[in-house]
Amino acid sequence: MMLRDELDLEFDHVGVIVESLDDAAAQFARLFPIEAWTDRFDDDVLGVSVCFGREKSGLVYELIAPFGPDSPVARAARTNRDRLNQVAYRTSDLRRARDRFESQGALVLGEPKRALAFDRALVQFFYVPQGFIVELIEGVEFRHDFRRKTSLGEATFAP
């Protein structure tokens, strides 16, 4: 119980890999009760294009599409495997969180990087013993800017 209390983790989103943001966002809006969308972010450093959709209950989906030739999600997008890719949490101290995750058996997947979609906050990925990927974002204060209201099939993304 103490372990959970000591680490501040706030749920941020569920990440889903898609082939194309435009197609997937429209499809998502037809399937799920998505109320609002963020802008699209083309992140050269992480090699992904992403956007976030908030559904009625408050749950946030991140749609992740490959960006650039070395995108880490290119294979998943191509092969239809690991599409439901990650669960993401915000934390105030990524370094501390890393220690905790490592001590609990998580594998660290790469070094921390700045992410465009989070105002260039540090993000880092872990493979937890439960068998899935967790993304940690440094910045408990961060909130997505859901500025785009959409209805079914109307999700369009201007660069």
Partner: protein, 351 residues
């Protein structure tokens, strides 16, 4: 003995070599390969105990003590070229000799250096700067703390094999820089630290004199001890010498080694100008400086290899040769894009 087929090779779980560290429930058994044809045990499919015995033994020891480095070291070595492995084996022999019966301490100190560098890495990523601002801070927080410094230096020695950019710099120095010096060259290394570079020069029959300078008595003693263990102490003249107070040595040397020192300095430009003054005209400087390389005692932040070249050229040198070596397990292109460490090696001639 349990064996399972994988292509042309047989994976053998021998109780003497299998490492288990399974408390965390992750894939966690390291198994050396035994090649059917040669019968040799290999680590990561490439490091075999006959061709690279010192490296093989040191990595096994490292992984027994600190299994969390398995993934990193596996990636570091599994695609390494044979001559890279041979050089690492040579370095492993020297490091094992320097460490003597303290080799386990050195392995644990490698883990220590990874932790402290990681701490700095987070600071660097958060604020886009090195944490320390002045040499006084470095003294207070790092250099004056002997146990910390000892562990730091031991760990750094291990990185000469484990971090491919460090190995590549050693190779550049041995294969490109030293042969570029004239016959019967006079050489000084400023800040010889672990002593591996100085030892290499002291073992070169073409060298007429080999010196090592450092400001710190403790550092000189450490280099002396390393050279004595490797067996070439008599050929190197180690002295406590402030580079900024080296007037008596003006235009004396054919070559100067300046490896992983620049990034520790408050006045790097001034240091480069002083280095120039103790070189003969036409003499060659070897610089090894890491860019984007957060560490507990790094002050001088260079952001690109080109910036490093410019700093050296500005001090009155012509750059003759360069080598850019990205952080382990990254390509140069990736390192540039992600602002990761690149070790920059330069041969610079005094005009």
């Amino acid at each position: 003995m349990v064996a399972s087929r994988r292509g042309p090779e047989t994976l053998v779980a021998s109780s003497a070599l299998v490492l288990r560290f399974g408390e965390r429930g992750r894939p966690n058994v390291i198994l050396p390969w035994v090649n059917d044809r040669t019968g040799m045990a290999t680590l990561f499919g490439v490091i075999d105990e006959i061709k690279h015995p010192a490296l093989h033994s040191l990595i096994l020891r490292q992984l027994r003590l600190t299994p969390r480095h398995e993934k990193f070291l596996s990636r570091r070595f599994q695609n390494a070229a044979f001559d890279d492995l041979s050089l690492c084996d040579e370095l492993a022999q020297r490091i094992t000799t320097i460490a003597g019966d303290q080799i386990d301490v050195f392995c644990n100190d490698y883990d220590f250096i990874c932790n402290i560098v990681q701490e700095e890495e987070y600071h660097f990523r958060r604020y886009d700067e090195y944490r320390l601002k002045s040499f006084q801070d470095a003294i207070a927080q790092v250099y004056a703390n002997k146990p910390y410094m000892d562990s730091y230096m031991n760990g750094l020695l291990m990185t000469q094999m484990y971090w491919s950019n460090h190995t590549a710099c050693f190779r550049f120095y041995r294969d490109r820089y030293l042969p570029s010096l004239p016959d019967r060259y006079e050489f000084v290394e400023v800040g010889p630290g672990h002593g591996l570079l100085l030892y290499q020069a002291a073992s070169d029959p073409r060298a007429r004199s080999v010196s090592g300078w450092d400001l710190s008595e403790a550092s000189i003693a450490q280099t002396q001890s390393a050279l004595a263990r490797m067996g070439n102490a008599h050929r190197a003249n180690l002295t406590i010498q402030d580079l900024f107070d080296a007037k008596a040595h003006e235009e004396r040397f054919d070559g100067i080694g300046f490896s992983e020192v620049l990034e520790h300095l408050e006045e790097p430009d001034r240091a480069l100008r002083h280095l120039r003054s103790v070189l003969k005209i036409g003499g060659q400087l070897f610089v090894n400086v890491p860019i984007n390389s957060p560490a507990p005692d790094h002050l001088y932040l260079l952001r690109s290899p080109e910036e490093a070249m410019e700093a050296v050229a500005k001090a009155g040198f012509v750059i003759e040769e360069t080598g850019f070596y990205p952080a382990t397990n990254y390509t140069l292109e990736q390192a540039r894009k992600l602002t990761l460490t690149i070790s920059v090696c330069l041969i610079a001639r005094r005009t």
